[in-house]
Symmetry: C2
Subunit: 325 residues, 2 copies
């Protein structure tokens, strides 16, 4: 099978590609095993070479239909659409958010209509589609009430994915991912960037600022669990999805102070004491609109799983992603 991963130069995209390549094949709803012939990594900048002949790298603006045409060949079987302008960036720059989070999603979906057969389309949505007064925990069927431009653009993507699935243009699945932590590398413009930073930087002997209150709860997932859940979302039969094709992906509900306590247990006082608490109202405003507790009924029924506890998330980062000294 031929697979396209947008956001393919990013941390999650690269990791998803590696996981699929390591498996060598994906299974369809009937249990048939399809060897992976090609993975296209598409992103604004070229993905780095991962030394596998099955990988093709495409770079450029995914809102440009001609680039999308080069990315998604007529025999593409599956698209994992991970590319996005993150929450804080989309809030600060409305136009870039619309272009990447809405126009690029549109261009990809339009291209999928032209393929030989309707491809699977796994859309990385977000808990940011929710906000305001919500049930606690948040059900899969909770209203789309985004309180940020990022959440709005993701909610619009979900509506398009569902309508185009209903029309038979694609076989779409919108997976609302928890906040992914611990991400390696540099901070980014996501309002949730600190959730990785307060673990990653202290472990690298660097001070980290936590811009939200210690009691702030978040719905988080390790990269490993998110990758596994993306593949489950892809392999699940269409019939396993309910009305809207949107699923709350299982995660872990944890407060920021519990995150730091886990860091303290795993890495010791000297490391955990490198977290400095300094409220940033702009970030706090966005993060506080996100719900932190979900009833991920559909995702659990599909076989998706969240992490057991935050200690194991910290431990997994140290083992898998932390740069070696």
């Amino acid at each position: 099978m031929r697979i396209v991963i947008t956001g393919g130069a990013g941390f999650l995209g690269m990791r998803l590609a590696r996981a699929i390549l390591a498996r060598g094949a994906l299974t369809d709803a009937h249990g048939n095993v399809h060897p992976v012939r090609e993975i296209v990594l598409a992103d604004i900048a070229p993905a780095r070479d991962i030394g596998d002949a099955r990988v093709r790298v495409v770079s450029g603006d995914l809102a440009d239909p001609s680039l999308v045409e080069r990315t998604i060949g007529r025999d593409t079987d599956s698209v994992f659409h991970l590319a996005a302008v993150v929450s804080g960036h989309a809030e600060a720059d409305f136009d870039i958010g619309i272009r990447v989070n809405l126009d690029a999603t549109r261009a990809l979906l339009e291209r999928c209509r032209q393929l030989a057969a309707p491809p699977k389309f796994v859309f990385a949505s977000s808990l940011a589609v929710f906000g305001g007064t919500l049930s606690d925990p948040v059900e899969d069927t909770a209203p789309l009430t985004p309180q940020s431009s990022y959440g709005t653009q993701k909610a619009i993507g979900e509506l398009l994915v569902y309508d185009m699935t209903r029309k038979g243009f694609i076989d779409g699945r919108s997976l609302r991912l928890p906040t992914v932590t611990v991400r390696p590398g540099k901070p980014n413009k996501a309002a949730s960037s600190f959730a990785s930073g307060i673990i990653r930087e202290p472990l690298a002997a660097v001070e980290a600022v936590c811009p939200v209150a210690p009691q702030t709860r978040m719905w988080v997932s390790s990269p490993r669990a998110v990758i596994a859940n993306l593949i489950i979302g892809h392999e699940a039969p269409a019939s396993a999805f309910a009305l809207t094709r949107s699923v709350n992906v299982p995660g872990l509900s944890v407060s920021v102070e519990e995150m730091v306590a886990a860091l303290r247990r795993v890495a010791g006082d000297a490391v955990a004491d490198r977290v400095r608490w300094q409220l940033d109202p702009a970030i706090d405003r966005i993060v506080s609109t996100w719900p932190a507790r979900f009833a991920p009924t559909r995702g659990l029924a599909l076989g998706m799983r969240g992490d057991a506890n935050f200690d194991s998330i910290v431990q997994a980062y140290i083992e898998e992603d932390m740069p070696r000294a």
Copy 2:
């Protein structure tokens, strides 16, 4: 003040223009009265001349930013966005639905960002944003769960209107209109077109086909009530709207057989017997996903009102809109 009405060549657009011109002014949230200096009627085809020097007519594709720039001047105070590809048409032709219901809405909103001051933006949304399993009656806060491309495109419009209001680009209000009946003129490609046809054609001595089951309930409004409610939605203070800026506009819940019974009471057996019942599965499928009972709490609080009964809707059509013999 300067007002733009999209869909300005259509029945509701023309009627809204006449109602505003007859008033001569609109009132703002502080009770200040603003004389109407200009109404721009914008539509794909030119609006017919209504003999008022305050009216300017613009025609063309509203998804074309250059036309939108000519339509919405920098000193525009208010936009009533009524232009749409109707439900049955958007379902049959996905591309034209996306172009008019999504791209044109985007182009209008983008233009509004460039104005001297954020304009009021009254977006004609629809009960088609709802579908599937819903509470009965449907609350203002019910989830956006459209089951048609038209409803999807209107839901996306609501999300954009709310986000751009939150950002301060516009002062938006999304009014979910009931099915408007009785519309004069010819049938159109709305799945709900029959709701006017089964009254209008028999009164013109023409047989009419009802394509849904007699028990099918609908949420309807006379043109007169809808126009009054659009103006109330425009004049209401921003503070009167709750979180999302979306409002279920009051209407009347009535079954199709009750509509025909009202026609019988008002116009007699010979007229009512011209309705022929013949199920059209394509239309029935769309209409049956629309809810028929609402709790229009916010609209009522704003002062919006539905019609008292269907007899008065038939009577109003005969008095105001029926062609004279």
